[in-house]
Amino acid sequence: MSIFTPTNQIRLTNVAVVRMKKGGKRFEIACYKNKVMSWRSGAEKDLDEVLQTNSVFVNVSKGQVAKKDDLSSAFGTEDLTEICKQILAKGELQVSDKERQSQLEQMFRDIATIVAEKCVNPETKRPYTVSLIERAMKDIHFSVKANKSTKQQALEVIKQLQQSIQIQRAHMRLRFVLPARDGKRLKEKLKPLIKTVESEDFDEQLEMVCLIDPGCFRDVDELIRCETKGKGTLEVLSLKDVEEGDEKLE
């Protein structure tokens, strides 16, 4: 055990500790802050920019270096760089402020982008811009949860946004052809699921073009498939019903 005297002591600043338990022992390495996530994502390729020092510790704050035989028994190698890389890749760490901030920001954007892609302004049938959605999300004090997927959160936020701005999910345009026998019966069952019927043609078969909420597509599909035993056809004409092209306001 080394003696702490000012001369043989190296103080580290800006330390981010990455820990890993292996072979019943705890190992730690000293890294720079805000760098470990970059390393994991592959943006940072220079190991020296990540590691403060090449040595593996048992306890970084106390400066206790891990014993060589512990290392070799746990990792099967004595190459410190290799061990550091392993710990960096799999160890646990405290995410630092900037890392967390950039991650949340990115997720926030992602959610806004998903919302903008999925939704339209019901009056104009045109999408909202991402920046407008972002602002609306901030207005309702939406906070991102890092452990939930962005898609899930996007769907939640749409519901919340509906209270403050005019927004709805872009409708899906479907066309189905049903055999005449089942036509009438099925139509009644489908009615609650359909938003608007655009055209209806009933001679030999029932042919309908309609708009539905994308959320209930599964039900529609299931219903038609089961009830007609595969005789009815269902076809998606467009995934989202939006106005295309530029429009001049006049």
Partner: protein, 1126 residues
């Protein structure tokens, strides 16, 4: 304004020959509005003391704050000269480049123009522009050289120097006019040549006679130029309120010196001098070193006046001068501490500027009745159509134009050049005015009644119980009284509310001029839009019909009743009953019918007037958003109003949902935003850079690297490194061979697809883009064919499709494209985009996309065919958003090389599919929440499944979701990886940019262009002028602020125009890193500075919240040190 003047004006409006419609044009800050102030002051509308300071016609707040005019506004003035009374409709116009559209609207309505030039600055860019505008509209200009006082006070020139300076300015102005003239003559000549040539070729005569004379000699141009002795130049100082033409001095001195005024008139300007001994006027002042006559007789007087009043402040001399000129100056002015006050008091009496300018205008500018036949034809023939080609009835209207008569029988022709918004408070009908006797009586009566009611109620309340029933009746009466009162209050409140709402509404007044006939209140007229075609209308309408009849609707024509007519008096409007021809007027209540400009007529044969010549086209684009997202509808309404009120602004909603505002320049933009905020939308808004679209594509592997070294030889070092990286790029389960063939299996191991991405030739991409409509028709046909129905396509479209196919075949030559056209599977994205899916699967036949061309139908159906659509959908999804930054693909061909299906796999086995296959499905993390979140894939997936009508392989039992969904996901991923296996490139939208610039600023233009990654395509000198026309392409991404920068750098001498033209591949690879020695040497280790494509890509990714490969902190050691308790 007094009633007398209004009545006089109404009377004068009927005398067409005494009307002058004119506008004031000049470069910014040359004193248009000040001059207009002086003219307005002459009519007593504003005090002459305030003239030049008030800027009466700048009625907007921001105009007053910024000190520049932003809109054209009109005022009617009355002027008496030589026993004749004149009505002058004066239009003041803005001088700033951004508002040159306003100048166009003003110029169109006028017959003449006052061009103002600053005596110090001389001819400026906008002076040239306005001269050109006046020229193009065939209106006659007169010149006012303004701010002569600056020559005396600021520059301290002697009178002799000032004379030469003024001469130079005149020469400059005349040079501009001359160049306009020559370019017109040359143009006409080339036209004539072209005609002659075409006739030559028609007649087939071999011997051609060339006429080399430019035709300049034959055409007389002397009446175009400005010259003081011709009486079309006024020297003035509007701020001090003086101005003169040579006439005035000629008359003054002819009496004094006994020389005939006609002689003086000719010699007062020019190289003449007065020989004092001989009392003769001699030529050659310059060579003999004598003072020219102009200096001696005119300038010296003014100089000595300024000397006495401003410089030396010599009281005695001033008094002497005043008495000798026979003027009366108030002692208050004489004692004033500011010499300017005294000066303007003297000058405005001695040489009033309004007198000089207005008399010149009345003499030199034509009245509306003198409209030239040439101008009429120009106005009536829209676009490239010649006047002769118009229908006969229309040609007859020309006579009405020329007559300009205010007869009852004459057809009414009115042109509306712009719509302007007026606060409803400013409208005369809403103004507070003294009540008439009857109204007062009526109100008194009402008040009395109310008072009586109230008294009755209180009385009945005072004596309760007088009668038995009283106890019952009084509360009832009270109650009823209360109720009625309450009702009254309510209705009053309501009416107040509606009144307030009405007040909030913006009213639009059309800025117009009557060209023929008399327009009356309540008259029924046709409103003809700019695209109206009289030929079609005449066919559709019965002969001799009028606007009062019920008529079938004709495109671009509307019927309406003239609601209100206004006399435009600057900030105020006065209501009129009728307006005879030749006058400028405002028409109210037209906002429903007119967007920006229109022609109003009682005859349907009237053609719409030629569109206005806009010198500046809108090019500055911004995206506008409300601060609070819930106020979106208000913004849309506001933008609509803005569009109507501004002749030059354009608003549009883009496919992305952005509301884009396009304006002529930064100042114009600022004004539009202010208008939106304060008048039209009344909400807080924010303007930002618009979203810039990109496309993704692949290219052939490049032959040379970034430092232009041949690849292949020294690649050795790098290859190893690259291969290593590539392996990490692809997850397990995807095989990529060296030719870029990607093979991928669905998670349930049933289907395997092999896809290769191939770049399409450029011509093919363009062909696909141009024929979107045809592709859509073909797609529809295939869809119907699938359901055993047929869609009838007319013969012409079929021919077009055939043509399109032949063209595709001719562009897809070469070994690898053999038979490709026949094997096209689908187009994408959205089934009609510029990407192709090719069917190269051996032994797989499917109906061709061209089946609408073949009549017979194939009926064979294989099992595999049921999943045909899943493959196509996967392709559609992949092309809609590429792997680089989720932007659509363009010009990529995906060729499906293999497609194996193991449909025989028993169900039992499927359940036991090992877990590691999950890694093969790159989308696997989405599976868990697929139920709702991910129906984009699954929806179309299951739809296809149900369409397939076969319950295949137990899709519902499969733990990976429906099978066709898996196939779509697999196909999509395969396409994405195939795309990534090729050299990827970003495509940027490009503008073509046309820049007009003079020779001296060419270098600056090039500097701005190259700074913004622009590329010059050609540069050409415009014939007959010193202007260059530069054609360049510029990435849309770099265009934000471009117009502003180029104007600043060239001091306004270059004006760009931007039009979207095409997509262009950015040559640099966004994923490029230096690999060879030379590249390291040239770009350094990181090489991130020069990579334009990477910059664009990361910007898009960051905007969309996608992962950007970027370090959070660049240097680990350079972070702020937070040391632990030291």
């Amino acid at each position: 304004m007094g009633h007398t003047i209004l009545e006089k004006i109404i009377a004068l409006q009927k005398k067409t020959s005494n009307i002058r419609n004119l506008c004031i044009l000049a470069h910014v800050d040359h004193g248009k509005t000040t001059l207009a102030d002086c003219l307005v002051a002459s009519n007593g509308i504003i005090s002459s003391r305030l003239a030049g300071k008030l800027r009466y016609l700048d009625s907007r707040e921001d105009e007053q704050i910024r000190g520049i005019t932003m809109k054209s506004s009109a005022i009617s003035l009355h002027y008496t000269a030589g026993g004749n009374e004149y009505l002058i409709n004066l239009i003041d116009s803005p001088g700033h480049v951004d508002f040159s559209s306003e100048v166009s609207t003003a110029v169109r309505l006028c017959d003449g123009a006052i061009v103002v030039v600053d005596a110090v600055e001389g001819v400026c860019p906008q002076t040239q522009v306005v001269l050109r505008q006046a020229w193009l509209e065939n209106i006659r200009p007169v010149l006012v050289i303004n701010k002569i006082d600056r020559l005396i006070v600021e520059l301290k020139l002697t009178s002799q120097e000032a004379y030469t300076h003024l001469q130079k300015i005149l020469e400059q102005v005349n040079a501009v006019t001359g160049s306009l003239f020559t370019s017109k003559v040359l143009e006409e000549r080339t036209e004539k040549d072209a005609e002659a040539q075409s006739s030559c070729t028609e007649s087939g005569s071999g011997d051609q006679v060339y006429d080399w004379s430019a035709g300049l000699e034959e055409t007389d141009d002397s009446d175009l130029y400005f010259s003081p002795d011709r009486g079309n130049v006024v020297f003035a100082s509007a701020i001090d309120g003086w101005g003169f033409s040579i006439h005035q001095f000629a008359e003054m001195y002819s009496q004094k010196m006994g020389i005939r005024s006609s002689v003086l008139l000719k010699t007062l300007w020019g190289d003449f001098y007065l020989n004092a001994k001989a009392k003769k006027i001699m030529k050659g002042a310059q060579s003999k070193g004598k003072k020219p006559l102009f200096v001696q007789l005119v300038l010296d007087n003014i100089w000595s006046m300024y000397d006495a009043v401003v410089t030396r402040r010599d009281k005695e001399k001033v008094e002497k001068m005043v008495t000798s000129l026979g003027l009366k100056v108030m002692s208050r002015d004489l004692r004033h501490s500011d010499p300017k006050v005294l000066l303007s008091a003297i000058c405005s009496q001695w040489l009033p500027v309004s007198q000089a300018v207005l008399s010149m205008v009345c003499e030199k500018l034509p009245s509306p009745a003198e409209i030239s036949a040439e101008r009429v034809e120009k106005l009536m023939s829209v676009g490239a159509r010649r006047f002769d080609s118009l229908p006969e009835q229309t040609q007859e209207l020309k006579k009405a134009f020329l007559d300009c008569s205010a007869d009852e029988t004459a057809p009414v022709i009115v042109f509306v050049s712009k719509m302007f918004a007026v606060d409803s408070k400013a409208l005369p009908q809403n103004k507070q005015r003294p009540l008439t006797q009857e109204e007062i009586a009526q109100r008194r009566e009402q008040a009395r009644q109310r008072h009586a009611e109230r008294q009755a109620a209180s009385q009945s309340a005072e004596n309760p119980g007088s009668v038995d029933t009283g106890g019952v009746s009084t509360p009832a009466a009270l109650a009823s009284g209360d109720v009625s009162d309450a009702l009254c209050a309510q209705t009053e409140a309501l009416s107040v509310k509606t009144a307030v709402e009405e007040n909030d509404k913006e009213h639009f007044v059309a800025f117009a001029r009557v060209y023929s006939g008399v327009i009356r209140k309540g008259q029924k007229v046709f409103v003809l839009g700019p695209k109206y075609n009289p030929l079609l209308a005449l066919r559709a309408l019965p002969e001799g019909c009028s606007a009062a009849d019920v008529l079938p609707s004709v495109p671009h024509m509307a019927l309406c009743t003239v609601d209100r007519l206004y006399l435009l008096m600057g900030r105020e409007l006065e209501e009129l009953e009728e307006v005879p021809s030749g006058n400028v007027l405002g028409i109210g209540g037209m906002e429903e019918f007119i967007l920006k400009s229109a022609t109003i007529s009682t005859s349907p044969a009237c053609p719409p007037f030629t569109p206005l010549n806009f010198e500046a086209t809108p090019i500055v684009r911004v995206a506008v958003e409300p601060k609070h997202p819930s106020e979106m509808p208000k913004l849309v309404r506001g933008m609509r109003l803005l569009n109507q009120a501004d002749p030059c602004a354009e608003v549009l909603i883009q496919e992305t949902g952005e509301h884009v505002l396009v304006t002529a320049g930064e100042v114009h933009l600022q004004r539009c935003l202010d208008d939106l905020r304060e008048r039209f939308a009344k909400i807080e808004i924010s303007a930002s850079k618009p979203i810039i679209p990109f496309r993704e594509t692949v290219i052939r592997p490049p032959k040379v690297d970034m430092v232009n070294e041949d690849m292949g030889k020294q690649q050795k070092v790098a290859v190893i490194h690259q291969v290593k990286e590539e392996q990490t790029k692809y997850p397990e389960g995807i095989q990529v061979d060296s030719t870029g063939l990607v093979t991928l299996t669905t998670p349930n191991k049933i289907a395997t697809v092999g896809v290769r991405a191939i770049p399409l030739p450029e011509e093919v991409t363009r062909l696909l883009e141009d024929n979107v409509e045809l592709i859509r028709t073909m797609e529809q046909f295939s869809l119907f064919a699938w359901e055993d129905k047929t869609l009838d396509i007319n013969q012409k479209i079929l021919e077009n499709i055939q043509d399109f196919k032949v063209k595709l075949e001719s562009n897809l030559q070469g070994r690898k494209w053999r038979g490709a056209v026949e094997r096209i599977w689908a187009f994408g994205p959205r089934r009609c985009g510029p990407n192709i899916l090719l069917n190269n699967v051996e032994g797989y036949r499917r109906p061709s996309v061209w089946q609408c061309l073949e009549r017979e139908k194939e009926t064979e159906k294989a099992e595999i065919r049921d999943f045909d659509n899943s493959i196509a959908s996967g392709f559609q999804l992949a092309t809609l958003s590429g792997p680089m930054c989720e932007e659509p693909l363009m010009g990529v061909c995906f060729s499906v090389e293999t497609w194996d299906m193991k449909l025989s796999v028993p169900l039992a086995q499927k359940d036991s599919i090992d877990d590691d296959s999950q890694a093969a499905e790159p989308n696997n993390d989405d599976h868990s929440e697929r139920s709702d979140a991910h129906e984009t894939n699954t929806s179309s997936a299951s739809s296809n499944q149900s369409r397939s009508r076969v319950e295949v392989a137990g899709g519902s039992v499969d733990c990976y979701g429906p099978f066709s969904g898996q196939l779509i996901a697999a196909m999509k991923e395969a396409c994405r990886y195939a795309f990534q296996a090729k050299p990827q490139r970003l495509m940027a939208a490009m503008y073509t940019c046309e820049i007009m610039a003079t020779a001296e600023v060419l270098g600056r233009v090039y500097a701005v262009l190259s700074k913004r990654e622009g590329r010059v395509l050609q540069e050409e000198m415009k014939e007959g002028t010193d202007m260059f026309i530069i054609k360049a392409v510029l990435p849309v991404a770099e265009s934000f602020g471009f117009a502003d920068e180029i104007r600043k750098r060239t001091s306004g001498l270059a004006s760009p125009q931007l039009v979207f033209s095409h997509w262009e591949v950015i040559s640099s690879d966004p994923f490029w890193v230096p690999t060879t020695e030379e590249e390291y040497l040239h770009f350094g280790e990181k090489a991130d500075s020069s990579n334009q494509a990477l910059k664009y890509m990361n910007a898009v990714r960051r905007r969309k919240g996608l992962y950007v490969e970027e370090k959070i902190v660049e240097h680990a050691e350079k972070q702020r040190t937070l040391s632990k308790n030291k």
